[in-house]
Subunit: 291 residues, 6 copies
């Protein structure tokens, strides 16, 4: 269960409120790279954790911390909205500046929330629960977490670049530092689980002998001129595979599966009659195709 404090995890100051920046910050709250996603993702992974209990405990720790990050960002949004324009009266004509600011802010920050953060991204698209990944396979989940913290840190550094408000830069410097730690933290679990060669291919509990052997370490090239030496060479085209269990090689894409054939429509599905009855015209057309 959970407890709270009335104070923030780290200082949130805004010297020059900027409603356009408030909108940008929403991406870090309700966007796919944002904090609601990682908070729920780590907590759901903890709650569904099967296997060593230490991972459950660690996921609970960081999931709980992320809740405090949502709180910091939500506070930052509210502070950036103070003094925001709340009117379109004539200002389009009189003051281009206000028009520009209005154009750059999320109108729902005034209309829907009365100058407060919402559970949406920078375009007002609501947070979506499908982003909360917990597969039951700890290694897959750790990659989902590394990915979330990587796109999250990229986002935070871009927000840091966008603003010259010292309070906002400071807050973001804290969040960027936490993303650094969290990337390392999930990588540490991957190391503990066996390192790249131990954990891949994920899931490592599936017997690789069941894979179609010609294709599990082959780079399939669909390039239309493939085979003329122009396939992009890289670490992935030769040498031992990264998981240490195969040799990379190149394979020109070939259709091995023949043309699919489906049965005609069932009557009660009410396709057009022409799809079911082979009229002379249709038969002729088919013959043309086949000849």
């Amino acid at each position: 269960m959970f407890y709270h404090d009335r104070e923030l995890q780290y200082k949130v100051r805004v010297e020059k409120p900027n409603p356009a920046f408030a909108r940008m910050l929403q991406q870090a709250i309700g966007g796919i790279e944002g904090e609601i996603r990682v908070c729920l993702q780590y907590l759901f992974q903890a709650w569904g954790n099967r296997g060593p209990v230490k991972y459950r405990d660690m996921l609970l720790e960081t999931g709980t911390e992320e809740m405090a990050h949502i709180e910091m960002l939500a506070t930052a949004v509210a502070l950036n909205l103070e003094g925001a324009p709340t009117s379109l009266k004539d200002e389009m004509a009189k003051d281009k500046m206000i028009g520009a600011v209005m154009g750059g802010m999320d109108p729902r920050h005034f209309l829907s929330s009365g100058l407060a953060a919402m559970a949406v991204d920078a375009n007002g698209v609501p947070f979506n629960g499908s982003w909360v990944v917990g597969s039951g396979n700890t290694a897959a989940d750790m990659y989902a977490n590394v990915m979330a913290e990587s796109t999250g840190r990229v986002l935070a550094t871009r927000l840091w670049e966008m603003t010259d408000d010292p309070g906002m830069k400071d807050m973001l410097s804290f969040l960027i530092a936490r993303d650094t730690m969290h990337q390392n933290q999930w990588l540490a679990v991957l190391e503990e689980l066996g390192g790249v060669q131990g954990i891949h291919p994920i899931p490592n509990s599936f017997p690789q002998s069941q894979e179609v052997q010609d294709f599990n370490y082959a780079f399939v090239s669909t390039y239309i001129n493939s085979g003329d030496g122009s396939t992009p060479a890289g670490r992935w085209t030769e040498g031992q595979s990264i998981d240490g269990k195969g040799q990379f090689h190149i394979l020109k894409a070939q259709p091995l599966g023949g043309e699919p054939k489906l049965a005609p429509p069932v009557p009660e599905g009410h396709a057009q009659t022409e799809q079911m009855t082979l009229t002379d015209t249709i038969i002729g057309n088919i013959k043309d195709t086949l000849s």
Copy 2:
């Protein structure tokens, strides 16, 4: 640009059509772990690729291959739907079997598509473009790709376990093999980009001196009894950080940010009067709180 063949990349046979399995396969088509996602993800990453062109070329290759995987799975869905029940007439009463099958299939496979695959997941939830991740940072994108192929391969092995149809098992063995390769392929790019110590923290182009230094390698424990020796120990609590740029250590969570203070509501936002006017009652309540 793109070309096509009329044939499939690999055989798709169904010996015992099973409409419930058709529904399951939809997860691998239109689900977050599915093939539409990876297809569009690799292609959008290619189309927006800035930096070494070889990665653009490689992403195009595999994005194009994934299109063929959607095709195989869509064909598998159509074949599994042949012979599916298309009626509720009395069978609830007469034949429990048909009722059960009907309960296990996606009704829209009959109602909406006439026994064909759709761009939805196993619960009929539509594919969502937000799942297509391309951040402009190649390392972050590669982790998104490893994660997609990891959850994708986990899904494919679960589908493999669910069925004993030899044709479906064979098709899935091919797709599982491709996921093995693709996991390795994206890991190979990460190796080429510098390996774990070279690429992290992502983005590695942000100066770490700007991070708040006390927090970038600290495991923050929010556990209410933290400090009594019960924090979960692991690779992430001591020793050199995985990126080689810091030392892991434990920090008990502490509120450093004070209590947030927001301005009162602006009049034109039409909060309740009581939020704006400090009546005696309200003042009394506040005093109670403060005392």
Copy 3:
């Protein structure tokens, strides 16, 4: 900021795991009546709270408690999924029971989460951030909260009726009790804010003199035979209005606004030529209409 415990707020026991009931419980996690919604709703209201700080503090308290309720339900889902069927192999033919169970469970509970809870509702539709209501008007928000706890308690009592597992009934009896308290709690704020007559119409900070006076306490009847004495009579058709500021009365619906007239399409919007050029045919048609 937030802290956690490794223990649950209340006991979660499952004597007879039931994967179909696991699916039902998802409605109380990721559905519109569920705990993710109230958790985020109370927290976002707290973080954006402008006005008496005591309401911020109280919202933080209960938002934090709701996080523990998500945890209890997620645990209940995982426990109900233990022993769930993970195969379609032949069982449709051999064992109708398993088929029925499989039909009644969410297939993504196996395919996507490996027997764990997800941030979705009972049909696998993801949680949606648009459900998190925080308007900046405390009275409106309190009604949103009463409504959430009312539909939430209705849901919980229905789940209670569905199961005869004593552990599940006990857990639900706890959650139902909490919903009782929370309904009362938000009602208490409404009382403190002035009671029904003090708070309505919400927002009470808008001058009612600006309303079109003939319509603010009139029950408008759109019934086609309205006026023949058949309008449904009730508390809302006569007597003092509930907010004490007007008299209820009935008004037969009348069109007061005339027919709307829009300008013709602009050329660069590329409507059909016939929408822009008044050909003889079109003119004729229009004349027919007007005559």
Copy 4:
């Protein structure tokens, strides 16, 4: 069934078309606080009404009226879009004003609808059917309706503040008046159903003896320093509960549920081997955790 008139319910005039205001008005059409939601909500409640038929009749009346409100707002959007810029040609360079206007309008108002309203909110997020609440419990539904009319009226007053177009102000004054009536109307039903003490806890048909008695009137404080006298006091912490069925009191949050224990992963779910096999390393780690 339904009939229509070609005229509007109330005048809709726009003296100074403003495409940015057209975008704002979309929130009142397709947003969660908007008219499509209340229209469908009241109608679906009517169509599913079980119990006294008078409520079905009344819901039909007001649901039908709301349809006319969508129509008024859609007309207002179309009129505000007349004269909107439909080009980006050089104007970013030549005329900052047009750029600002373009930035403030919804581009789909030109691109997708040709200067007409759409079923979306002020950010172009589509109307979502999940917002249509009808629980089958009349009291819960009435609160959903009061809440919808409260957030709706708050929205309308904010729109009223944003504009100084007399036609728009007049139209909004009408809609604000109707929201006043509708708040009172749903409150009137609640009074008729028994008043606060009669209807709560909702549903009142569930026997309260089945609730866990220690928790149904307790304010649970999750504040980490709770118990030191700092819990926020209010109407909800002492005295008779609002529903008259209990006494409010404060309870410090305590974990009563112990640590949850889940079974290990099932083999066919293909977690990582390390989650299933207790290797020496894993066992060591677990021992470390437990010691």
Copy 5:
């Protein structure tokens, strides 16, 4: 504006309530082929109609009728749910039948709506406002309407096939008849607007001289073996085009656009350093690719 009657447009009787059929009917209410979509689509087209007013009037007529169809179907859902199972107690074990029925019904029909219709499809996916098409071009809109009535009638005939309840068959026979009329109605507008040759290409107000002339009547074949005589021949490969403004012919797909070249990442976008700095390794890789 709108008026209502308390009676239905056509009889809705259910002799043998079937909760699984109730779920199927939801597709015709809240699905993309359903009645909420056409209702709102016709009304929004009417409200935004620019051009001959007769089309506005006609769209209002049929949009209003569709509201009555939602009502009929919502009533049919409620009637089919009467007697539905509302419990999972033991019946999975004792009575396979009830389990099967429960598996086939939408659990939210009990949990969320208390045995009433909702604004969702047959899988519980909510109605989505993006489906409401109104482009401002009357011809494009009429095709959207023909398409909606075509997929709608296909759906209705499939529902008709699924049931042998005489009341449901009768209701569907009415709705199928209305779809027949509505298909014809929108086709009649297309005829009035000029017929196929007059209206195409839509929009017909764009000067065709601005099109790239080699491609506007060419069937582009992406078939990898195209040109060997195997391109699928049909009405679309030779003869006058359907709009009478060109001649169909076949063109083998050729890349005419060269390879795209994007600038390197901007520093503040924080791509990886390796994307921006051409290290020796990277340069080597690029050389390999180019050689």
Copy 6:
């Protein structure tokens, strides 16, 4: 299966990058009128095609071509974003122009994708798989395709009007030409399937004798004054129906279905007691209503 080329289908040049136009172009990528939709729609129709195989082949051809159109537009977005502002530092104050540009662009084009296209529309709303229509009825599907190419071409001509960049105008002229062809192509299939009289009503495999005969060619007027000669006359009110199978005529809307009657709530659904128990007050109210 599929192959690719590294070159574009047609030239994509941008002389004056414009980030606001990049946002507009997103509508043609991830919007409902966009290329992801048609690409997946044609491919899913091909993969599920039952009936003459020539249509499968043709759908594969054009679906594959559309993939190249997404690629062209994604490239155009990336090129238009070059030089886009990536900062809010002071420019709101110093340079209104940058503020305006920032207001007009999609902030996620910098924050989420690092100056690249995404799978979203012009408002950042993600592509939605529900837009991919494939009904199993070829005629219905062809109308869905004509509709998609019609709204798509309307969109493309509007984009063409918005820009004076010669490169963008050229690219759009190519795409507009392809839309012309594709409209004709799907119309050609409709002609081949029998022409308007042969294919309607869709599905033509349902026996029209099963329709309720009085309603299948009647224009039902819901106009409240219908019958006074004011019903909008048109091709759809008299003469032979377009499908040649009936005579158009006008019918004044009449309620034929009586008032719907639903059973009282079931106890375990926990409606309010007042909905279930007929207290004296309730009975009195009902009597009032009935009298």
